[in-house]
């Protein structure tokens, strides 16, 4: 209680400046330590567990409402949904038949090159929590964390394509930075001709841009962009978006290319966390062998 007894005999507040300076220095120290050094990761992970009840309390009324709405839907709606899903499933199975044949063919071709690794990746599905992190950054909170093996930099997909990557991991939750965040860039290639470039976020959830393509580059509206797999962060071959518009200004050396993201960045509720098969062995455990030569 001593710390809070901050009045003198006449009831005036004393030590305001002292406490203000003390707390400010503490906050500054936290900022510097958190920014410069990586020691606070564990503390932050524990603190995020403390924040979890608040996040759940905020998200649960919305989940409850969704549950309520689900349980009172009419028979007609359910029948319509069922018909739609069956049609989609038929189409997906039709595609899958071809996929299995293609995977077998890829395995054979890789076997020729003495590289028999599977092209399929391991997935974990996470739900986006109904929590607004920051109005001015494209980020979402997902209910899977370090406890589920999620790691920083992990690729995140939704049913349409590449969604983003893991920016920060808590024990129970993790923060995903979307491909459309202004601080995010992803190596891509144009599916039609294999042209490689980098897609950068704009801060708007329905637009990416390709700022590094020369005006003479072979790119036209409607081209599909897929991940190139360069850089090792994202698995290769997943759709990132389609070219929406190409503006070529002859006086500029670089073209102005807008991309419409393939993932439903502002709507998706279920996300896939992907483990890269070939690199997983190198990425998942911390790089211990690097420390050995120091001995």
């Amino acid at each position: 209680m001593v710390a809070f007894r901050s009045t003198d005999a006449s009831g005036r507040i004393t030590g305001l400046l002292f406490r203000c300076v003390l707390y400010s220095l503490l906050a500054l120290a936290l900022i510097i330590v958190d920014k410069r050094y990586d020691h606070l990761g564990r503390i932050r992970r524990l603190l995020s567990v403390a924040a979890y009840p608040v996040q759940v309390a905020v998200a649960s009324p919305f989940q409850g409402w969704n549950w309520f709405r689900d349980s009172v839907t009419t028979r007609d709606v359910l029948r319509a949904d069922k018909a739609k899903l069956e049609a989609e499933l038929r189409l997906a199975q039709f595609r899958l038949q071809r996929y299995e044949a293609l995977e077998a063919e890829t395995q054979r071709l890789r076997a020729l090159r003495e590289n028999t690794e599977s092209v399929t990746d391991r997935f974990v599905i996470g739900d986006v929590m109904n929590v607004d992190l920051d109005a001015f950054r494209e980020r979402v909170l997902v209910d899977k964390g370090a406890g589920d093996g999620i790691y920083v930099g992990q690729a995140v997909l939704d049913s349409g394509g590449v969604f983003g990557q893991v920016a920060r991991v808590g024990q129970l939750t993790s923060e995903v930075i979307l491909v459309s965040d202004a601080a995010h860039a992803i190596p891509v290639q144009i599916n039609r001709n294999g042209l490689r470039t980098i897609a950068v976020g704009t801060g708007e959830s329905n637009r990416l841009k390709l700022p590094y393509l020369p005006t003479s580059a072979d790119v036209i509206a409607g081209d599909l962009l897929v991940t190139s797999g360069l850089g090792g962060g994202f698995p290769a071959g997943y759709p990132v978006g389609t070219i929406a518009e190409v503006k070529r200004d002859p006086s500029q050396s670089l073209a102005d290319v807008d991309v419409k993201p393939a993932a439903a960045l502002d709507r998706s509720k279920e996300l896939l966390f992907v483990w890269l098969k070939p690199q997983a062995a190198e990425l998942l455990p911390p790089p211990k062998p690097a420390a050995v030569p120091k001995k």
């Binding site: 305001l16 906050a27 330590v33 932050r44 924040a51 996040q55 607004d132 992190l133 109005a135 001015f136």
Partner: protein, 158 residues
């Protein structure tokens, strides 16, 4: 005096927890930029209303909670809230006798100071947000101040 501070701790913690939840309640994207800093207003209220109950400690730890829940660099909101909380405590005797309009203007200045510290730390740590949208929150917060104080006074008097 001891009894007085102990009685006030509970509504203080409860209102802060409620405001923290409001800070992350999902809003439509259009309204999101207009979201006032509820927790900051609540901290100001307690700094002005009962500065003896440890308003600055509340400010620091509320800021830390905001840092964790927003997933930004630890200490950012804590620093901003400590500085502006101390400012509010310093101004408390004057604010109490101000008219509603002057109160709103003072709170607007405090909230702008708060946003400025956040803006500065954002820039210093290398991920600046330069949209003008972030300066909307002080406006909305200042407009909300009279409503919030009358509401909190009602709760506090019980």
């Amino acid at each position: 005096m001891m009894r007085e501070t102990r009685i006030r701790r509970v509504p203080m913690a409860l209102s802060a927890a409620g405001a923290l939840a409001l800070a992350v309640v999902p809003l439509p994207a259009v309204l999101d930029a207009f979201r006032p800093d509820f927790l900051v207003l609540v901290v100001f209220y307690w700094c002005i209303e009962s500065p003896r109950a440890g308003g600055l400690s509340l400010a620091f730890f509320s800021g830390l909670a905001l840092d964790v829940i927003h997933g930004v660099v630890l200490g950012q909101h804590a620093l901003a809230l400590t500085l502006t909380g101390a400012w509010a405590t310093h101004l408390r005797l004057r604010i109490r006798v101000f008219s509603v309009l002057s109160q709103c203007l003072t709170v607007f200045a405090l909230l702008t100071g708060y946003q400025f510290v956040l803006f500065w730390v954002d820039g210093a740590t290398g991920n600046p947000v330069t949209t003008f949208g972030r300066w909307l929150a002080p406006f909305v917060g200042a407009l909300l101040w009279p409503v919030l104080t009358s509401l909190m006074d009602k709760i506090n008097e019980r």
